[in-house]
Assembly symmetry: D2
């Protein structure tokens, strides 16, 4: 159970949820993502495009760009410490990503009601010069709280 | 230029395009995907969910499921040997993927006209028991042919 | 409450739900749609493109094509007599619709689990020659049953 | 051909394109929409939900909400006087629309490069209290200019 006496502040809650998730987020580590910022309904992540992230044509694989956006979405939609998963996602690919580029994904909540939310994520080169992809995700809240359920997992 | 005298058959063309793409497809190797089948407008890939492919909640990361589907999409939409990229993708996540499961993605063309196509990809557990995700991708054809442009790349 | 003793057959249930919905479906009447067929998880509707259904460029307005597809989706996803609404829809427009053409929308269920379903709708010219649009809808089941809730509405 | 000597200003161009489109936009008239504002890459429309716009469950039909959003998208993506059509659209329905409510759709460009653009449209009740739907449209530019091609149509 989340102790709301010690985490009443939305920003603290967002940070606590992210801190519980991050070390268990194997894909975020595998793809060498960095969590730049998290706030209520928001998250910012960065990732540098490595050579092994390319497709046959030598540009960044769409699945890797999606993974970065989807991860930013996950941190934004779990920022209120309620366990929330992706139900559907839509992505428009606007420009190819190139090896060596640092990508930045910024996620923010567009709507939340009942157990459903909609989040927009914009993926740009970190210098802001090029928008690589626009992502929109629909979230579905499950039972349970992020910090409590992941801490419980630790006990095993 | 593709030598249409030696590759006139659509199935041979699809296989030749896939053979040119596969060794250069770094993400397909990185994620240990297997190309099971390719045919005109179609492709089937498999991938086993490894521990490092999970998200914070211990199920397969949406970005990894998307990567498998997107790769199947890429082989299907390049099967006529015209260089084609993803313009937009939509994915519905239906059930979580679990570590150790073999996933199978089957892609097929739903429409193609002008430089645009629509492809459906279904991701199931390889035993067919569970549908993990439904993916729909919109493709955009660029200039050039797959085999010729990748072979040209080799020359350098 | 649905009397399952008298409507045990899925096809009868689908027909009963459609019969309860159709006369109350003001847009279906307004756009002069015809319900051609309904079955468990499936529905087929037709609509002729009228002059007042065009956009500024003289082809069928995307909103009208969407309306036909969305209505087919509604009859398919309510065919088990559980009140169900659209949560999200994606549509790819493939070819323009022309005044005078009869359009046919065929909807079928791709997945259903818990309170969520995914339905595909294909809109073609009724002669089958041209695919006009591909539509995918995500459904969300509410409380209540279609026949009972609409009949209850009548009592007032 | 558009006379760029007399319409060099982007705002004037947007207005001229809208003025050419509006009287020919039969669905906009049929649904009694109002064009509130148009600007480069932007458009605002309103429409009151009438009784004949409802579905079987008595709320505004998704196709009607989509039609309003899609129309706002059309005015935004044609605002540079290049003939542009919808290639694909995604809509998330967030809250039901009720008879008598005035809806307002605000469209703005998120990206444009080559012949492709992405536009976001938010549909709210006109008082701003409730967000009804989030819409994202992908546009595809055809040959020709809006004012010139529609004026040409007049000649017939």
């Amino acid at each position: 159970m989340t102790d709301t006496t010690t985490s009443p502040d939305p920003q603290q809650t967002a940070r606590a949820a992210a801190d519980a998730m991050w070390p268990r987020d194997r894909v975020a580590q595998w793809m060498d993502m960095r969590l730049i910022d998290v706030a209520p309904g928001r998250a910012v992540l960065e990732m540098r495009i490595a050579e092994h992230m390319t497709n046959a044509f030598g540009s960044c694989h769409g699945g890797v760009i999606f993974s970065l956006a989807d991860t930013a979405f996950a941190y934004a939609c779990n920022s209120s410490d309620r366990v929330t998963v992706a139900s559907a996602c839509h992505v428009d690919f606007l420009a190819p990503g190139r090896v060596g580029q640092m990508l930045r994904a910024e996620a923010h909540e567009r709507s939340a009601s009942g157990r459903t939310g909609v989040y927009d994520v914009t993926v740009r080169t970190a210098d802001g010069a090029t928008t690589i992809a626009l992502f929109r995700g629909k979230s579905h809240r499950l039972q349970g709280e992020v910090v409590a359920s992941l801490a419980g997992g630790d006990a095993n």
